[in-house]
Amino acid sequence: MRLLEYQAKELFKEYDIKVPDSISSNNIESGRKDAKKIGFPFVIKSQVPVGGRGKAGGIQKCHNEDEFELKYPQILGMTIKGEKTRAILLEKMSEYEKEIYLSLFLDRSKRCYTVISSAEGGVEIESVKNQVVREVGLGIVSKKIAEEIAVKIDLDEKSVAYFVDTLQKLSKLTVEKEAELTEINPLVILKDGSMVALDGKIMTDDNSNFRHTELLKYKEQTELEEKAEKSGFSLVELDGNIAVVGNGAGLVMSTFDMLADNGGKPACFLDVGGGATEKSVYEALTLISKMKKVKAILVNLYGGIVKTTIVASAFIKAYDNKLIDLPVYARLMGAESEKSKEMLKDTKTKMFTSVEQAINGIVVEVTKNG
């Protein structure tokens, strides 16, 4: 799961990492009450699961009620890099002397957590030159290592103890919540040397969700994603108009890439899992039938041990039950592909032996119909 800023900050608070006073809301009525509690001036922050909010205008200062009435609805209605604003965080402005960067992430190749820190914070870490990168094992970062990192990023002496404390707490959070990434950017240093997390980003391991029922309240799923998960599928919704379906994540990604290379715009990424059965294909079509933007369906199934006739009968059933009336361009690799071609002859499903042909066909089809 990718937590929103306010959710990450709730966890920071739980682990006693200092954050500014803030309240989250998702409508202007509650926002007005929050504004009174916090008191002007404050910052209005869009809560979206992508970086680059600041540049996109998703974070704005607010000094009085007039500004609030103008900016709150504007930011709440914002879509940033394709992501709708989920909520608004009103946050007390902090006075600080310096911004730094701190994160812990799971290095997959080294199979351990790595601390990244820098004396430059508040910008995307990719653009920061003076990074300190330190492997720290799988447990909680020791005081000694934390101190070494503090020295390497040239912290003032009065801040070292605060830094060590923050890093150790962040590390405890990371290990206990089974996070793949925890980031504080910026971590700001106040006049007295103490530190406050001005922003927060946390990604946890979805596969460990069963051990973390306390985090499930942060789980964000559209109705369709929830249905997909129940069927054992993996679904990512996008802005285009061609649904991309296949079995196996790699194969679907590959199909997705080739479609985009040919000018097609994917409406979704739908992986129905390694196998493909009549039931799973029918369920996939049921999901797609609920996506209004879809104009055509691209199917790429590597049958292997599955007969393609089984998949073909799922399409026929879907047309018969009036579940879909969309054109389908399908490549079904596996046994009895000639027979399934015959079965689908009088339907809106066209079968191809190569996925490239199916892609060329579907891009022409969708372009033709505008």
Partner: protein, 304 residues
Amino acid sequence: MADIFELLRGKKNGNGNYDKQPVIVQGITGKFGSVHTKLMLEYGTNIVAGVTPGKGGQKFQDVPIYETVKEAITASKARISIVFVPAKFFLEAAKEAFEAGIKLLVAIPEHVPVRDAMQAIEIAKQNDAIMIGPNTPGVIIPGLIKIGIMPAGPFMQGNIAVLSKSGTLLYEISNNLTTAGFGQNFTLGIGGDPINGTRMVDAFDMIKDQPELEGVVIVGEIGGQAEETLAEHIIDISFKKPVVGYIAGRKAPKEKRMGHAGAIVMGNYGSAESKIAMFAKANIPVAKRPTEVPILLAGKMEKK
């Protein structure tokens, strides 16, 4: 580390052939485990024992079932196990296998938590054993042994190694190779998870010194840095045999998990651009489509 070829093939017998190595199946009576046990037996894999607690003493397809891995090993002398258990119970199953003496564990389950996978790897190390996966389709030496869930159809005996994060792309690309006349001597699924018992670079090291090896195909995807690490390694050791790559997910949106737990780009970490750039440095051409892989490989082999 244990030698994977020695484990999978054993030593040549008096006739100059390899004997079939015994394999046990943990979770042999489960829905998935039973289907694939049948298919592995059909392929000719020497499955000698199964393990399902509570079903010891019974048989499945004439294969005796035991209560524990230890009992199965005592009865069969197997050093290889393939695991089909729900992700939640994977760590327990892996620990039991390694502690009982299994030297090669093929871990099929998807959705194993990262922490559990890391602990399993730690236990494998302590016992000088190899773990493949989790979330792997398995490993196949065409014509000899299949330990996994891959269909047999795409594979043909030959001298190309295929290493792939994805399962279905492994089948797809091996099938393209087979059609083009490039058989395989070793194909292995690394797995689509963030943490792999056998990393891309480990798998490469397992095969790189095989004298009969004629070329390597690397099927990568977005997420992590396994492809970059491997490309650097290929540069470092000046590997001379032809290597061709494929990277899935070039057009995937950032910060979205694309089906596999590991397939996610965070910032530039895990991006296709980074992998393709590193492959270019290692002189590894990257196919834009799976069908292009054999064409690039043929080109590389000609130049040699």
